[in-house]
Subunit: 481 residues, 2 copies
């Protein structure tokens, strides 16, 4: 199969020139911000600021044109007004630049024909000059291994997740949401209007990129439908692909058009095409990261039978509804298994050995471990879910609750090693100030320990259902998960 | 119309006896916890601890029986094992006690006939003795004005919201979630099995309670269907009623039965009945509080036409999809209005005068105020929504973002007074540690200032849609909102 262009060179430039750097600008100066971000992030190559007025910035000479720079330039970031971009492309072509990222907006996405004309002009000039274009109207690249970023505070560590985003803001959100769930990125592309390199190019590239094991994408619309779907289908055979496709409604499609000149297309068609391609469809940025976390952190489940274990009758009812509604199966536990559990853990008021299992409280760590192992070893469960409802406790004092929760969290931390089946954890219901902080810290620790941790019942139910169904479809298709 | 029994006496006892208080119990002692909670919360009347062993606790004499107490007893809390409860009821009846709250579980909700038998026995004895029963198997009452609580750390201030909950854990969660959204409570009832006083009794009571302006309820199933529906219908004419009805799925219904012996009933029937009664159906504890917040804080909208204003093209697309999907109408702004906006606020790259309006950034507070007033005064909008996506910003430094967000939040704080239409605020996408805390603090301030603030796009879309549709139905029925 024909793969797309090898875009590795985009992510590992040795030299970057930034057009439109000014220290004097009263307003926000994007060129300066790119310069600062790259330097703070630790870009290892050389950076050359540019501005027609010349001068100096942060002790560096400002070049008036890319042609003046006494070095080969691999990559240009454009933060100049749209009307000056044709000249920039011409100069870059003369200079032998390989790629330009246009942060600059005001092209195909705006509502007049001049924007479209200008976009066509720079793309034609770039093509003629052998330059690949990222954007316009985007934040560009984040690639920790290459030292590239569009935000100084992004995580420095690399990971196995690639992201293609038609929105810079959503790309930034996604990276931060991902880090919160223990997800690290190989390459993140904020691609904007995608006037030259588009979503198909990036997808084909990430498909064959060894650094990238899971591909995620925020898509408003695609330029080459058949090519994109073909790439999706072929990619999804080898790597999990999780897509958040927006523009589902008329208003959303309209907003997408204004935003990145994207044609959203019929949502019904998309739904079918994504399903057929074996792509997991996420319904939000958060869910895209949740599903990715599950795919990365949980072993392949034997099936979809889910057993939920936790404290609280009211929480159990909500969990049962939400998980069933999301499409997961909560099997009724057999009499044999229930007897085993009751033998391990003497029945007392408030303890319910149904599914969800409401353990109410626990006398000893041994009993808790035995309960978990008994469920893990039975063939009535494929996926185990532990839940803690932080704000559900009445009556007990804050100190006692604190102690109880700490014991419980420690047990969860310890039990994972003893289980064969996937174990997900839901830390939910933490509106009070104290529990909010507690749940956040607890989640951080569990995530650092390798757990898949969800911050709400709804998020867990929906993402785990999609996780299970991804693996079931692969199994049905005779593919290794 | 016949209203239910006047239950005011339950919420304003002068004396409380607590059965089952022990300082020596190795395990969690619920009686002691109730005693501590009531004292810390500041119950103004007298509390008498009880235990067959006698002795002292916190410097107070422990009585061996309610009959021994040298005072009239209005209210008894039972935290003794189920098997001792018939004797307690007999003694209480002799003593002239008016109400008993059974925290004690192990009755109708457990899986043997002995539990049911025991429950029937205590209810019969109570009835014979003229005692009303709360529970069994519940946390009981939280009523700030009466000094009653089941948790020492609950808010001391009263408010206009009543809550009936068939789960103690969910009641606790609801109170804490509510406080986080600026909701204060008149009376909260954790009613457990509802063996004597049931959801219909409490609903009929709250319907005629002057302190209660909005009624919320977490319902697993009801005992007297026709009575409950009749009460709902009649109540909803006067006060907004928001219900989270669970046990929607087979697993959920099964869990509800184990939890509070509730029969969930057909969800399709419930859906129709709630709609017909004019009740707002919430899909989670969080949503129940979100809708309540909107009903309490937002003026009645003229209709459902929603205009969303904020920063960020990617966020705009998601917002448009979610709001439309939830059933709200995002009208296309007329050319006249768009021209007015553009005249106020010179067009620049990245600024989109569609709906959602993406203001990208703002030159001055005056311009922002003018934009908002222009939209407020046009007849193309009934409901205004401002959104801030905390983690969506790329490129700008944390300090700059901080500054920008502070200006933005201050402007939102100032603009409300100048608007005639309902204005909701969404503070969303704050996964990063810094933004998480920032968004939380900002939300707290806006809530304190009287705003309706939502912590996610999905929550805002769904709750606001239900809020609008509540008022539209009332208008269609010719009722005052």
């Amino acid at each position: 199969m024909k793969r797309g262009a090898d875009l590795d060179f985009l992510f590992h430039p040795k030299t970057i020139a930034i057009a439109g750097v000014s220290e004097k600008a009263k307003q926000f100066n994007a060129g300066l911000k790119f310069l600062e971000a790259l330097m703070q992030f630790g870009f290892k190559g050389k950076i050359y600021p540019m501005n027609p007025s010349g001068g100096e910035v942060m002790g560096m000479k400002i070049y008036q044109s890319v042609k003046e720079i006494p070095d080969q330039i691999d990559f240009v970031i454009s933060a100049i007004p749209a009307r000056y971009t044709p000249q920039l492309v011409e100069d870059a072509a003369e200079k032998g630049v390989k790629a330009i990222h246009f942060f600059t907006s005001g092209f195909g996405e705006i509502e007049n024909s001049e924007g479209e004309r200008l976009q066509a002009e720079i793309i034609a000039k770039a093509k003629a000059g052998g330059i690949r274009v990222i954007g316009p109207n985007c934040l560009g690249l984040y690639c920790p291994a290459g030292g590239l970023t569009f935000n100084a505070d992004f995580e420095r560590a690399s990971g196995p997740v690639g992201l293609i985003s038609q929105s810079g803001g959503n790309a930034a959100h996604c990276v931060r949401e991902g880090i919160g769930r223990g997800i690290f990125f190989s390459k993140v592309i904020s691609m904007g209007n995608g006037a030259d390199l588009n979503e198909s190019d990036y997808l084909e590239y990430l498909a064959q990129d060894d650094e990238t094991k899971i591909i995620t994408a925020y898509i408003e619309g695609v330029r080459e439908g058949p090519r994109f779907l073909k790439a999706l289908k072929s990619t999804a055979k080898d790597k999990p692909v999780v897509i958040f496709k927006v523009g589902r409604t008329e208003s959303g499609a309209e907003a997408a058009k204004s935003h990145t000149a994207s044609m959203a297309g019929s949502d019904r068609v998309w739904e079918g095409a994504l399903r057929q391609a074996g792509v997991v469809r996420a319904d939000s940025i958060e869910e895209m990261m949740d599903i990715t976390m599950a795919l990365q952190r949980l072993p392949v489940p034997g099936g979809g039978k889910t057993v939920i274990i936790g404290i609280g009758g009211g929480a159990s009812v909500i969990l049962a509804d939400e998980f069933t509604h999301a499409g997961l199966v909560l099997p009724r536990l057999s009499d044999g298994l229930r007897k085993k559990l009751i033998d391990t853990f003497p029945s007392e008021a408030g303890r319910i050995f149904k599914n969800p299992v409401d353990i109410n409280n626990f006398e000893s760590p041994e009993i808790f471990m035995n309960i978990m192992k008994t469920i893990d070893q039975c063939d009535e469960a494929d996926l185990l879910v532990m839940q803690i409802a932080f704000d559900h406790f009445g009556l007990i004092s804050t100190e006692d609750k604190d102690l109880l929760l700490r014991i419980y969290l420690q047990l969860i931390g310890e039990v994972k090693g003893a289980l064969r089946k996937p174990l997900a954890v839901i830390l939910h219901s933490f509106a009070s100030a104290a529990m909010r902080q507690f749940a956040y810290e607890a989640g951080k620790e569990l995530i650092a320990a390798g757990f898949a941790v969800f911050p709400s019942i709804q998020r867990a139910a929906s993402s785990l259902s999609k996780f299970v169904s991804y693996h079931e479809k692969r199994k049905a298709a005779g593919r290794k998960s």
